[in-house]
Structures are given as structure tokens and as C-alpha cells.
């Protein structure tokens, strides 16, 4: 313990004349430093919270605000934050309308992103539920090694994987297809989801499964009827996690889909939109809102579930 620090606190106290005068009436004078620090930290705490809130929320507010302003107005007065003068949803119309109608066709991109994300969730869950159950429950040769192998995958940069996958998918003609991308996403996320689900399966009491086994249920029936319903919270959290990653992903979408506009995701469409000069920044912001909104809504609706699922096991340090 910091004995010296405590001593300093005591030594400083008598220098304050009023404290000396009141000494008899104060039973625990060393508390004064405690009180001072607590007060200052109490104020600093709220200032810090305010700072973080502004830093994290402002960019999103700014995104929405610019998306409903006219670009000429922004150029005239870039510092205006409120009220959004001449607010109009025109930019959203332009972004969402199909290309034939003079828009950017984001509705198609939304559909693509949604399909990719949902398919990635389905494939990842299917593979990782079975795998994590095996790792959590069953004794088999190489169990520990498998765990280690999965985590070591995370050492390698995505760009390193991107090169051979790019070559491979080009050769077999899957580059540009949504299916190829789903396969890539699932395989990259599976090591993490296995880890998340395994932690949860281990907390499900084994006696329930044994009871089912005694009643003659097969292994797959046990997983389906007993383990899965019990692990539902973790499975939900994992699904959300996968959905968000697949929806937000950019590098592989860029490498695989860029030549095939019909299959673009929202992220890719937006990044390509930014490249063309004639697209106004406000239109770009409308596209950003469209890209962000589903994720933010999903996140706020399920925040608690997601956070608990993600950090399960982290408490152990």
C-alpha cells in the first residue's frame, strides 16, 4: 500500500489553519483529502461522460443533419448545426431510386447486404453450433489443439487471406457471386463464434442431457431438443454479432464484387458512390444513414444481450 501518500495527506492537513482550529470537532480529519478528491473526481466524471457522449454521438447526428440539407446550403454555411434549414428527404430518394429512374439503386444493395448477412448467420450458426458443442462436451483426440488452431487464425491479416481466395474464386468463377462471399464470411467468423458458443455450452448443466440420453434420445436429438433451447441467449447474441460483421464488411466485398454492380452490398455501393465527382456529399451522407440505420436499430434493440454474449468469460480476466 502507498503509505507515503497517506502520510502526505496527514502532514498537509495541519497547515490549513481552520482545520487545526476545528480539530477536536472532527473525528476523522484525514478524510479531508478523500472528500476533496471525491468531489473533484465527481465533477470530472460528468465532464468526461459529456465529452465521450459528444465525441461518439456527434458524428452520427452530423451524418443525419447533412443528409437532409441541400448541398448549396452546406457550402454557404458549413458550421450550421441547428435548425436544419430547408430540410428535405430528396437525397434519400436519389440514393434509393433504381438506376433506370436516375437514382443510385440502393434498394438492390440493401437486399444484397441483407441476404449476405442472413445467409452468413445461418451458415455460421449451423457449423459452429455443432463444432462448439463437440468442443464443450465431448472428449476426443485433438480437442485442445483445435481450440488453439482457431485462435491462431486471428494472427493473420485479412489481406493475406484475400490474395489466395481472390485467385481461387477467380479460377472457379465464383468471384462476383454472393455465395462465394458468404462462404468467406462464415469461414472467417466461425473461429470466434465457436469460442463464444463453447463458453456458453459449458455452463449448461450436463445432467439434463444425460437424462435425455437415458431416455434413449440420440446425440443430434439431444442437441436440438435440450442443449439448443437452453443456449438460446448465446445463440441470439452470436447471430447478431455475425449479422453485424457481415453487414459492415468491406474489404472482401470490394475485392470480390466490385466488377458486378448487380451484386454490390450497401458498403461497397456507398464506397463506389464516393468515387464519382458528380455525387453530392449530402447524397453520400444519405447513403451512410441508410447503411448505418439497420445496424444501429438492431444494436440498440439488443444491446444488453449482445454485450453480455460478447464479454461472457471476460470477467474471469
Amino acid at each position: 500500500m502507498s503509505r507515503t501518500d497517506v502520510d502526505t495527506g496527514v502532514a498537509e492537513r495541519p497547515r490549513a489553519p481552520r482545520a487545526t482550529a476545528r480539530r477536536p470537532s472532527r473525528p476523522r480529519p484525514p478524510l479531508s483529502r478523500e472528500v476533496v478528491e471525491t468531489r473533484i473526481l465527481g465533477v470530472l466524471k460528468w465532464i468526461t461522460i459529456a465529452f465521450f457522449l459528444v465525441a461518439t454521438l456527434f458524428p452520427f447526428y452530423y451524418m443525419v443533419e447533412l443528409s437532409i440539407r441541400a448541398i448549396e446550403d452546406v457550402a454557404l454555411d458549413p458550421g450550421a448545426l441547428w435548425p436544419p434549414r430547408g430540410a428535405s428527404p430528396a437525397a434519400y430518394g436519389e440514393v434509393l431510386r433504381s438506376v433506370e429512374d436516375g437514382g443510385q439503386g440502393f434498394l438492390v444493395f440493401l437486399r444484397n447486404s441483407g441476404m449476405i448477412a442472413l445467409a452468413s448467420v445461418a451458415l455460421t450458426l449451423l457449423v459452429s453450433i455443432l463444432g462448439s458443442y463437440a468442443i464443450a462436451r465431448l472428449q476426443f483426440f485433438g480437442r485442445r489443439q483445435v481450440n488453439f488452431l482457431f485462435l491462431s487464425v486471428y494472427l493473420f491479416p485479412a489481406i493475406l487471406l484475400a490474395i489466395p481466395l481472390f485467385v481461387f474464386f477467380t479460377r472457379i468463377g465464383l468471384r462476383g457471386s454472393l455465395f462465394g462471399l458468404v462462404l468467406v464470411y462464415a469461414s472467417q467468423i466461425v473461429p470466434v463464434t465457436i469460442h463464444m458458443l463453447r463458453n456458453y455450452f459449458q455452463t449448461v448443466p450436463e445432467s439434463l442431457e444425460e437424462a435425455a440420453a437415458l431416455d434413449g434420445a440420440s446425440r443430434l436429438t439431444i442437441i436440438r431438443k435440450v442443449s439448443l433451447p437452453l443456449a438460446m441467449p448465446a445463440i441470439m447474441a452470436t447471430s447478431l454479432f455475425v449479422f453485424m460483421i457481415a453487414w459492415n464488411e468491406f474489404l472482401f466485398a470490394l475485392l470480390f464484387l466490385v466488377e458486378n454492380r448487380a451484386n454490390w452490398t450497401v458498403s461497397l455501393g456507398l464506397s463506389q458512390l464516393a468515387g464519382s465527382v458528380e455525387v453530392a456529399k449530402t447524397t453520400l451522407m444519405a447513403g451512410s444513414v441508410i447503411l448505418t440505420l439497420p445496424i444501429v436499430v438492431l444494436f440498440f434493440a439488443t444491446e444488453r444481450l449482445l454485450v453480455e454474449g460478447l464479454t461472457a468469460g471476460a470477467e474471469k480476466g
Binding site: 461518439t56 476426443f140 486471428y154 469461414s187 473461429p191 456507398l270 447503411l291
Partner: protein, 322 residues
């Protein structure tokens, strides 16, 4: 990791059954990871020694005449060392900042208050939101003509001319009459990285904080330790484990980072990190061999750095603890 209970292994056949079931259930995972992750990594090593280009992909893919040319090309190319330096600065400073901010954020929302759930969710937003959207907002906020930052700078801080934050390689700031050269764009992308990724550290540090037993803190309080002393001497040492883990994870991910920098600056204005160079070799020049060689160099470097970290840094900490 708790092992399965012993009673299950009653008979040898049962154990065998279980072993078989385990491998069967795991096989889809193994197949996916083997074909989509392990084999590609091994293949990258092969490609790195082939002279493979996008235009001769059809004819040269199975041409196994190995050469070191790719490595010579990427290691001696102009700008390689500069990219390495930028990557290191970006990773070290970005990791430190994002963990520091995460710790600070976790400390201030540690105790319950009204609206805490909402505050916590808001603090996670930068990490949850799509990278393309948040990089674009930053670009526009920092835009010299339209951006809010330059507008505020001109109105309130009296900036004479707008600062092109993401296009300026070096800027000059005057501190007490001294003109200092600063790498503007690199500073901005590093700050962006801290902003976007502090929620990750925040989440894990907060989870750990809330699981800490209260007795130690309470005992120190009774003994007269002030809040700051309790933080430095009681709380922080207990967070050491999670912070060390975050340091490794964040460093790995920042070191390999591609999306954020590519979207913010395309690697321009002195922000070209190695992974952006890999991408440029791959798509810009269509030089698949060189791209593979450079990405291997990147991975090896990371392994070497991690080795040093565990060998010297973690080793010393454990020695101190003894």
C-alpha cells in the same frame, strides 16, 4: 477449461463413440476452416515465390518455378521502409490511445446512474457502425470547404485558412513561437482509430471492472486510501490481465488494419500502411506474387513483434510479480 466428468468414460466403446461423435460434429467446422483459412494461408506462401500476375493467372498458376524476385521487389521498392515506419507508429499509438480511452470510459460509467445503459450503448456506437459510413462522416467533417471542423476553426479559433486534414502530409503548428512540423494526416487517422476502436477496450475493461470483488477496495477505503490511490494501487493492478490481452489483440488488428485507412486517405499523404501497399500491388499493378510476398513479410513481422512482447514485456512483468 473444465474437462468432461469422468463417469462418462465407463466403457471403452462409449469413449470411442464419443470421440467419433466429437470429430463428426466438428468436421463441418474443420472443413470450412481448412479450405477457407488454412490452405489459403499455405497457398499464399507458394504464391509469394511464383512470378504470378493477374494477366498470366490462367497460364502461370501451376508454374512452380520458384523465385525470390517478389521479395526483392517489395523489400527494395521505394517507400517500403516509410510504410513500415507509418504502420508501426499507427499501431503503437493507436493501440495505446484506444485502450487508454477505453479505460477512462469504463471508469466513468462503472457505478450505476440514471441513463447509464443509454450512455454505454452510445459509447459503443463508433465500433458497431459500418466502417464505410463512419469514415465518410469523418471525411466530410474534416473537409476543408464543407466540413464542420474547419468551420469551427475559422469562426471560433481564428484559423486563417482551412486545414486539409486528410490530404496534408506535414503541417506546421506554432507552440510558444516555435514552429513544429507535424504529420497531419497520420495524426488524424490515428485519432480516428482511437475513436473507432476504444469501445472494444471499453467493453472488456468494463466487464472486468464490474466483476472485481469489492472487498479490497472497501478495505483500502477504511484504511484511508483516497480514490486516486485506490485506483492506482487497487483497481489498476487487477485490470492488468485484461489490459495486456487487449494490448495484444488491438496491436494485431491495428497492425493488419486496411479498411479504415484505405477509406479515409487511400494511403495518401503519408498514411500508407503496409496492408494498403499489399492491396495496391494486388489491384493496382495486378502483381499477385509481390502482394503475397509483402503480406507474408507483414505477417512474419507481426509474429516477431509479438514474440518480443511476450519474451521481454510479459516475462518481466511475471518476474516483477514474484
Amino acid at each position: 477449461m473444465p474437462e468432461g466428468p469422468a463417469p462418462r468414460r465407463r466403457g471403452r466403446t462409449l469413449a470411442q463413440q464419443e470421440s467419433r461423435a466429437g470429430l463428426a460434429l466438428l468436421s463441418p467446422t474443420l472443413i470450412v476452416v481448412l479450405f477457407m483459412v488454412v490452405l489459403p494461408i499455405l497457398w499464399t506462401i507458394v504464391i509469394a515465390f511464383q512470378s504470378l500476375r493477374l494477366r498470366n493467372l490462367r497460364t502461370r498458376l501451376f508454374d512452380f518455378q520458384f523465385t525470390l524476385d517478389n521479395f526483392t521487389t517489395v523489400l527494395t521498392s521505394p517507400g517500403f521502409l516509410e510504410a513500415l515506419k507509418v504502420t508501426l507508429i499507427y499501431s503503437v499509438v493507436g493501440t495505446a490511445l484506444s485502450i487508454g480511452l477505453g479505460l477512462l470510459a469504463a471508469l466513468v460509467v462503472r457505478k450505476p446512474f440514471r441513463g447509464r445503459t443509454l450512455v454505454r450503448a452510445s459509447m459503443l456506437l463508433p465500433y458497431v457502425a459500418p466502417v464505410v459510413a463512419v469514415t465518410f462522416v469523418w471525411q466530410i467533417m474534416l473537409n476543408p470547404e464543407l466540413g464542420i471542423v474547419n468551420a469551427i476553426g475559422a469562426d471560433l479559433l481564428g484559423w486563417k485558412e482551412p486545414i486539409p486534414f486528410l490530404e496534408q502530409r506535414t503541417g506546421t503548428i506554432s507552440v510558444f513561437g516555435l514552429d513544429l512540423e507535424v504529420p497531419t494526416a497520420l495524426i488524424v487517422v490515428t485519432l480516428y482509430q482511437a475513436w473507432r476502436y476504444f469501445p472494444f477496450s471499453f467493453l472488456f475493461i468494463l466487464a472486468r471492472l464490474q466483476a472485481l470483488p469489492g472487498e479490497l477496495d472497501e478495505a483500502a477505503r477504511v484504511d484511508g486510501a483516497t480514490p486516486l490511490q485506490r485506483f492506482w494501487r487497487i483497481t489498476l493492478p487487477q485490470l492488468q490481465g485484461v489490459i495486456a490481452l487487449l494490448t495484444v489483440l488491438r496491436f494485431i488488428w491495428t497492425f493488419n488494419e486496411f479498411d479504415d485507412i484505405y477509406l479515409l486517405t487511400q494511403g495518401g499523404a503519408g498514411t500508407e500502411v503496409v496492408s494498403v501497399r499489399v492491396y495496391n500491388y494486388l489491384t493496382g499493378r495486378g502483381d499477385i506474387g509481390a502482394a503475397a510476398a509483402l503480406s507474408l513479410v507483414l505477417a512474419l513481422l507481426l509474429v516477431a513483434l509479438l514474440f518480443l512482447y511476450f519474451r521481454f514485456f510479459v516475462g518481466r512483468e511475471e518476474a516483477d510479480a514474484r
